[in-house]
């Protein structure tokens, strides 16, 4: 038999195959999520000292086992809770809060410093609903803080915080921290959870 040269295999599509693999790996790689809602748990204290808080300064949110919301003894949809919380926090009933724009209703909270949101959930409440409510309540605080920051410094609180966390941001961080703390003081996040 005559000696024949083996035909060369066409390697032109090799690149395509490799690209396919590359894209597969790029797509399937799940980057771990590293965002979330930060919370601080209350420390366990031995002394059971009862602090007297006026009923009107407490905004009660109850989440039952069927994921229904009871806000201030009224049934409420999730989408309305943000607005209700903002109204409650921004009420400024005793007139000491000169930056509040609420209705100054004497039956609602005295000022943002005294206003407390109390969240109670049952064991059967789903985690998804709980996070949604937490998210909405944090959003209410952020809304007020943003408004205040916009009025004082011409940028939103979220932006300021992003700048503070940004390593590459050029500017006076000490001053920014001061400004952030001031806003946090004006609208303190007082969110308590009932066990």
């Amino acid at each position: 038999m005559a000696k024949r040269a083996a035909p060369e295999v066409n390697a032109g599509s090799m690149a395509d195959i490799a690209f396919l693999l590359l894209i597969f790996f790029l797509v399937t790689t799940t980057i771990e999520t590293d965002t979330g809602i930060n919370r601080k748990l209350p420390p366990i204290e031995d002394s059971q000292e009862d602090v007297i808080i006026k009923q009107k300064n407490i905004f009660t949110v109850l989440l039952n086992g069927k994921d229904q919301l009871l806000v201030e003894d009224e049934l409420m949809e999730l989408k309305n809770i943000r607005k209700a919380a903002v109204e409650f926090l921004d009420n400024g009933g005793d007139g000491t809060c000169n930056y509040c724009r609420g209705r100054k209703d004497p039956t609602s909270s005295d000022n943002p410093d005294k206003a407390i949101i109390s969240l109670k959930n049952e064991r059967e409440t789903s985690y998804k609903m709980y996070i949604s409510v937490q998210n909405e309540l944090v959003a209410a605080y952020n809304e007020l803080r943003n408004r205040r920051a916009q009025a004082l410094y011409g940028q939103s609180f979220i932006e300021m915080q992003a700048n503070y966390d940004n390593v590459n941001w050029v500017g006076n961080k000490d001053k920014l921290k001061e400004q952030l703390d001031e806003i946090k003081l004006e609208y303190p996040q007082k969110l308590s959870e009932v066990q």
């Binding site: 590293d34 979330g36 959930n121 985690y127 066990q195």
Partner: protein, 158 residues
């Protein structure tokens, strides 16, 4: 002369693409090697809830992860109740204290106050379990927690 011209006016030789696969393979290997796989193999379903008022968790070395959710399909024998996973195995509520102590021991002492506990909980789990975890964390004074969520609108149907 005619012969000479013909030679000069020849087409440009095509650039060889024979090394293209090698380059792409190099990229492929780079991605395969550089991809950090999850630290823990999840034995539970872990579809996190959505939220949009989120903050970033920086300093990943200062985060302790607690997973919770229903056992995934491969671990059906452990039942359908939501369970806690610490490191690579299922755990009970009582194991959390030991887990926190162990994590703390592996960090430098001055960093301990900055340790955050990230709760990666499946959105279908119920709050009873999370309440228990939180109570346990309070007992060991690990008060900084983070509910890890995905970024997205709360009201969308996911």
């Amino acid at each position: 002369m005619a012969k000479f011209n013909k030679k000069k006016g020849g087409e440009l030789p095509a650039i060889s693409t024979a090394s293209l696969p090698d380059i792409v393979f190099m990229l492929l290997f780079f991605f395969m090697v550089a991809t950090v796989m999850r630290e823990n193999t999840l034995m539970i379903k872990n579809s996190l809830p959505y939220a949009d008022q989120v903050e970033k968790l920086d300093k990943k070395d200062l985060v302790m992860y607690i997973y919770a959710g229903k056992p995934s399909d491969a671990y059906k024998q452990y039942g359908t109740e939501a369970k806690i996973q610490l490191n690579d195995k299922f755990a009970d509520i009582g194991d959390i204290a030991a887990f926190i102590a162990q994590e703390r021991a592996s960090k430098r002492e001055e960093l301990i106050p900055f340790l955050t506990t990230a709760l990666k909980v499946d959105q279908e789990a119920n709050m009873g379990l999370i309440g228990d975890i939180k109570q346990e964390l309070r007992k060991v004074n690990a008060l900084k927690i983070n509910y890890t969520t995905r970024k997205g609108n709360v009201f969308d149907k996911h």
